[in-house]
């Protein structure tokens, strides 16, 4: 399918998803006024009816969806009930924070994972220790590692903050080190294993033997002949992980008290903030689909058989 066709497909899927998300959120038990009544005994039946009408919750779900969709087409995404602000204003800072956190972690995990994987495939002696590192990365729960890092570097040594966001005059990178390390380590295993397996496969391919027979150096064989082929599954993996760039890492964000997309979506869904939840979920869906498209394009560029 052409790029234009894929983009059209993404557009239609997004429209369909918006309807599905809206209905699912709307059908969840307990509307915002139900929750408010449960939380405040001073709210009478009269107050409930007044507030329902004010929020438009007394209208049928489909009618509400059409009103929401009409607003979106005019560039109005509505207000967040939880934060009393336009949802777009809330989304951007959360998105920026998550892109920074998860993007850096992904970059480090992919970079280190590929390096480890290639090294393990090329040097037999390194395969054992690197396999052990990958096993550890896979086995150690992220939250546990996060707490361990906080304990060592924030509480005991006092070198880095235990969490939160930098304020004016504070170095932002110091607040990123521990959460990025926690996330990157958790993702390291998958990249290492994929890269190692793909590189080992590539090194066994007939054209590698041919290259060796032609007298090509081992470095040239590894980087010019084997690596471009081994990179294809790794790129697929990065494409699949693109969704996480914007969906956030709710446990890491909670543990390090960083406001990001993961926490925002969780709060919006649990707090019945449909405008916010809907837009955030749609952003995640769109970025995931675009990530997948980008990965396909990158694969085509690397592998002529796919063109």
């Amino acid at each position: 399918m052409s790029i234009a066709g894929r983009l059209l497909q993404i557009l239609l899927t997004t429209a369909l998803l918006s309807f599905v998300f809206f209905m699912l959120i709307g059908l969840m038990p307990g509307d915002p006024i139900d929750l408010a009544i449960a939380g405040d005994p001073r709210l009478s039946a009269e107050d409930a009816a007044r507030l329902r009408a004010l929020y438009g919750l007394d209208r049928p779900l489909v009618e509400r969806y059409l009103a929401w969709a009409g607003g979106v087409l005019e560039g109005r995404f509505g207000y967040s009930r939880l934060f009393a602000q336009p949802v777009a204003d809330l989304l951007w800072p959360a998105l920026r924070s998550t892109l920074l956190l998860v993007g850096l972690a992904l970059l480090i995990a992919a970079g280190a994972g590929v390096a480890f994987g290639v090294a393990a495939a090329l040097k037999q002696g390194l395969a054992g220790p690197i396999g052990l590192i990958a096993l550890l990365a896979q086995a150690v729960p992220g939250f546990w590692l996060g707490i361990l890092l906080i304990m060592i570097f924030a509480v005991t040594l006092g070198w880095l903050p235990a969490g939160g966001m930098a304020e004016e005059g504070e170095a932002a990178w110091r607040f990123l080190v521990l959460p990025v390390a926690t996330l990157a380590f958790a993702q390291l295993a998958a990249y290492t294993r994929h890269a190692a397996a793909a590189m080992a496969d590539a090194l066994r391919a007939p054209w590698i033997r041919t290259a060796r027979a032609r007298g090509a150096s081992e470095a040239r064989i590894a980087w010019q002949h084997a690596f471009p082929n081994a990179a294809v599954p790794v790129i697929t993996l990065i494409g699949l992980d693109a969704g996480a760039l914007v969906s956030g890492a709710v446990i890491t964000e909670a543990l390090f008290a960083r406001p990001g997309m993961g926490k925002l979506i969780y709060d919006a869904v649990m707090g019945n903030d449909s405008n916010l939840a809907l837009l955030a979920l749609l952003v995640v869906a769109v970025v995931t689909m675009l990530g997948s498209l980008a990965a396909d394009l990158a694969q085509r560029a690397l592998d002529p058989r796919l063109r």
Partner: protein, 569 residues
Amino acid sequence: MPPLGPLRRAPRRRPLQALAGLLLALPALLAPPSLARAEGREVLTIGISQYPASLHPNIESMVAKSYILGFVRRPLTAWDPDWRLVCLLCEELPTLANGLARQESTPDGRPGLRLRLSLRQGLRWGDGQPITAEDLRFAWAAGREPATGFGPAEFYRQAYELLVIDERSIELRLDRITFAFASMGDFQPLPRHLEEPIWQADPRLYRSRSLYERDPTHPGLWSGPWRVAAVQPGSAITLERNPLWSGPAPHFRQIRIRTVENTTALEAQLLAGQIDMIAGELGLPAEQAAALERRARGRFVLHWRPGLVYEHLSPNLDHPALADRRVRQALLLALDRQRIVAQLFEGRQTVAHGPLHPLDPMHDPAAPRWPFDPARAARLLAEAGWTPGPDGIRRNAAGERLSLELMTTAGNRSREQVQQVIAAQWRAVGVEVRIRNEPPRVLFGETLRQRRHQGFVLFAWVSSPEGVPRSSLSSTEVPSPANGFSGQNYAGFRHAELDAILEELPVTLQAEARRPLWSRLQAIYAEELPALPLWFRQEAHIWPRWLEGVRPTGHLNPSSLWAEEWRAR
């Protein structure tokens, strides 16, 4: 009394807590010094576990908002740390004795009240404008308009007329008599010069266009010892000293409030010195605070304040077995609450014998109590027709098993532990317990409200001193489709005498005349058990040893309302 629902002091999920406790134990004593110390103790950084949905004083009702607003604006009246109603912005509390409150008739001939309130002299908004009676009039007018969308509007419906007497005084006319008339609750001045034009433009859009939402750092919105200087949505609010505050000068130049929802992370930030104190109003759960107290003894002051959060088991009285009060009494007799508190909370909860806290002025220590007595519980169950079956579970004459559902908020580790112990203690007297938990939004939003529970629900109410529990006990407050599921009598409890007391209490103006009514209410409660009392929670307030003057309250008016008294040693 509101249940501890998701919009209020929602219990946070703490799956990491146990592990974190172990991990944090060793370095607790090795932590670096507080950051505030390095800044000459002019800055105080406070950790709380919830971020406010709005900073508008009348929109949404959250503990986090009350806590933060306590620093930056003051209500007309509040309950002080000694649980006495006091004036904060007003000069004198209106009472019948001082003549500032008068009984009168409403225009349609019903008994009503007329109150006179005068603002203190010298009050100013942070932009220098004086706080006047016109600011109260605007707040009243906005609250009266249904489209404005203020949350609870009962006060505004009752206060049918507001007369501006002079620049600082108003008269309020209420369409009913209630002993709590002097408590103004959410009614407080709003900066008319800034907010009225926005409200007048379109009351329906006021909620989102108010400066409290669009420009919360505008100095003219605030009138307390500090004003909001910076907002980082979802994570932090910074307050700066307000030079126009007319009260005693606050010690701290800056207050930084940090939201860390995960209480393990909150504790870590405290130990790492990133925050100086954890507010008890929105801080660590009792078991976590008790563990911290053991580990980091000497580094912090850990002040336990008994509070008005009442943990209880609410039955559904439509359940055939639970409709029999002997069964409810037996189930309470079978619970060793003292032991649960000692084992699970290190003794840091106050065992409850009724809905009134022992510190409440109307608490009656002579009200009947149900001590742990499994033998008596067994006798009562047998009397009620439930006898042990071959598997130890009791059955009635029809052969039905005494099997009850026990629900609570899923993910609340502390309540889930309590649930397990209750199930074991009831199993010991032949009662089968089926545990079924739901997320707070489902439990409070649907199951409880529509009374779909088939047994007991473990949750909490939070109240104010001498708060009349009408919404949770009156037979007119049983949620039903007819009343839009608006009541909070989830048990479905109906008792004619109690209904009469609940109607009579609010209109009995003399405290001493109310006392026998309260005693009777507590006696009926103990006898009928519309809910099985468990305990009152204690708040764990944690602050550094160099800080003094903090006075936790234990009720809904937070300690921050008196924060200008806080000092660094």
